[in-house]
Symmetry: C2
Subunit: 102 residues, 2 copies
Amino acid sequence: MDYSKMCPKYECATELLGKKWTGMIVRVLLGGPKRFKEMKEQIPEMSDKMLTDRMKELEHCDIIKRNVYPEMPVRIEYELTEKGRGLEPVIQSIQDWGENWC
Amino acid sequence: MDYSKMCPKYECATELLGKKWTGMIVRVLLGGPKRFKEMKEQIPEMSDKMLTDRMKELEHCDIIKRNVYPEMPVRIEYELTEKGRGLEPVIQSIQDWGENWC
């Protein structure tokens, strides 16, 4: 890799990932589709508002999708898109580093 | 990897990386020790204050070290520690994802 100059694609990727909670949300969803409440269970210290905002942003960036099942009561689940699942090696490498250094 | 519950070590790692500019700074320093001015050249949109603050934080977390060479005028360079260089696979995986999806 050429570290002598910044790469716009890297910059775009790191801008997305370099936001509080994004790495946590993606990790949770790598475990499969989740309802809002199930996500909160794994990230209890994040406020509802923060999770809602971040999910909207990730949906806008096509990292996650929101599925609405017309049951009674309505069931809403979030899951990673293909683009989102593509982040698994990133999440794995962060995990590896954390295990060695945190 | 067990995605069914959050891992504290992952949480610690992502808290550090999930901060604006951190991924950019680490990438620049993977290219070798740099002076403040040289870092700015690769990340011109980051303010001096922001770079200074982030560097202090990364020094505090033992990701980078600050070397002062008693020349005239004094030369100050920043470089990654072993812990910081350990982030190379993370940076590489972000780059790979960015190339596919950004």
